[in-house]
Amino acid sequence: MATDTTSGAHQAVSACLNEYGGAIGMPQLCGEWFGNQIFWLVVTLLAIFIILSKIALPRIAGVLADRQGAISNDLARAEDLRAEAVEVEKKYEKALSDARAEAQTIIAETKSEIKSQIDDEMASADAEIAVKAAESEKAISEIKAGAIDSVIEVAGDVARDLISAMGAQADRNQVETAVANRMKGRIK
């Protein structure tokens, strides 16, 4: 095939190529290319192996381990925070119920305090009222007594005036005694 030069195409350089550079049969079965392919394949596989095993795979394994660590750390921290939140909530509930109880006792205390104060005030007011009433009674009785004396005096004066009007001289003491006698038993 390499000897055919009449078509003007360049000479085939391989037993697997025709004079136009086209393939004869399957290029896969061309034995003279095997060595070249195998050589470059071995070089390639070695290069890939070194790149992967020295750089890429340890790096990716590290990244994945780091991520796993970060995730489990975050999960643990979230768990801690959750427990803390539960505790805080408990504390809050306790504080709330304590405050309620305290408020109840304060209310009760205040109530009893106010009650005793009211009682005291009532008692003192009662006592004051009693004193005032006694005083008033005394004043009334004094006034009453004063009034009777005045009546007796006025009656005496009237009686003397009447006697003198009738032209007789009235003895002061006599008149008064008579008036007093007359009044006796009528005014208490």
């Binding site: 697997c16 086209g22 393939a23 070249n36 394949l41 780091d66």
Partner: protein, 260 residues
């Protein structure tokens, strides 16, 4: 193929579905030697760069809350690591970097190969066979190192009736040695077939330039077919990488725990 190539100048459809798999030197027209820098070198280097970009540069921030690139890198890491642990067991974890290397190489080669005008390194049996044989040899060595001759218990099925055991042992041994063959051809075959089919449909696409009557039907159909096959190939690119990796894990499990 030579006849078809000659027809390229004429107004005929041109089919070169296999030319995309040709290994050629990047510089000059010389022959392909062992160390020649070829399109294989270029696309394998791009694979290495892409993997380094995703797995090293993508994760360089080491963020606790990952960005897009780092998410994908972590996803790939978790995906393969879980696969190794689930399929091969906890004691297979030391082999995780090797399995990760295989997976990353295959999945990136497959996806880079889907770029238009790209060269698909995993479509070559030479490439997949080397990986499959490497897996086969390592797994066999690990099996004997870890279990001694007990590794041969893999072929001697205690659960079967005694008369059947020699026959089963023969079948097991044959299937064991066929493993690297199926392991490698499955990947290379899938990648090659998909790309070749896309190229065949692509060759039908310019039909409208040759014959308007037929082309009106064939051209849209072939463009639709290219799109559909491309979508399928995107799926296959990942699935074949996954299959290769999970089979590696299954073989490793056999080596670590040879008793059924």
């Amino acid at each position: 193929m030579a006849a078809e190539s000659k027809a390229a100048e004429g107004a005929e459809l041109v089919f070169h579905p296999m030319d995309q798999f040709i290994v050629k030197p990047l510089f000059g027209d010389g022959t392909v030697n062992f160390f020649t820098i070829t399109n294989v070198t270029l696309w394998m280097a791009l694979t290495v760069l892409a993997i380094a970009g995703l797995m090293v540069i993508g994760t360089s921030r080491r963020a606790t809350v990952p960005g897009r690139m780092q998410s994908i890198a972590e996803l790939a890491y978790g995906f393969i690591r879980k696969m190794v642990e689930d399929v091969a067991g906890k004691d297979a974890v030391p082999y995780f970097p090797y399995i990760m290397t295989l997976f990353m190489f295959i999945v990136f080669s497959n996806f880079l190969g889907l770029l238009p005008a790209a060269f698909t390194t995993t479509s070559h049996i030479a490439v997949t066979a080397v990986m499959a044989v490497a897996v086969f040899v390592s797994v066999t060595v690990i099996g004997f190192v870890k279990n001694g001759t007990g590794f041969l218990g893999l072929f001697w099925i205690g659960a079967a009736p005694l008369p059947l055991r020699p026959i089963l042992a023969l079948i097991e041994v044959i299937s064991y040695f066929v493993r690297p063959v199926s392991h490698s051809i499955r990947l290379a075959g899938n990648m090659m077939a998909g790309h070749a089919v896309i190229k065949v449909f692509a060759a039908f696409a310019p039909m409208v330039l040759i014959s308007l009557g037929i082309g009106v039907v064939v051209t849209p159909l072939s463009i639709l077919a290219i799109t559909a096959i491309y979508a399928l190939e995107t799926l296959v690119a990942f699935i074949q990488a996954y299959v290769f990796t999970i089979l590696t894990c299954v073989y490793l499990k056999d080596a670590l725990h040879p008793h059924h």
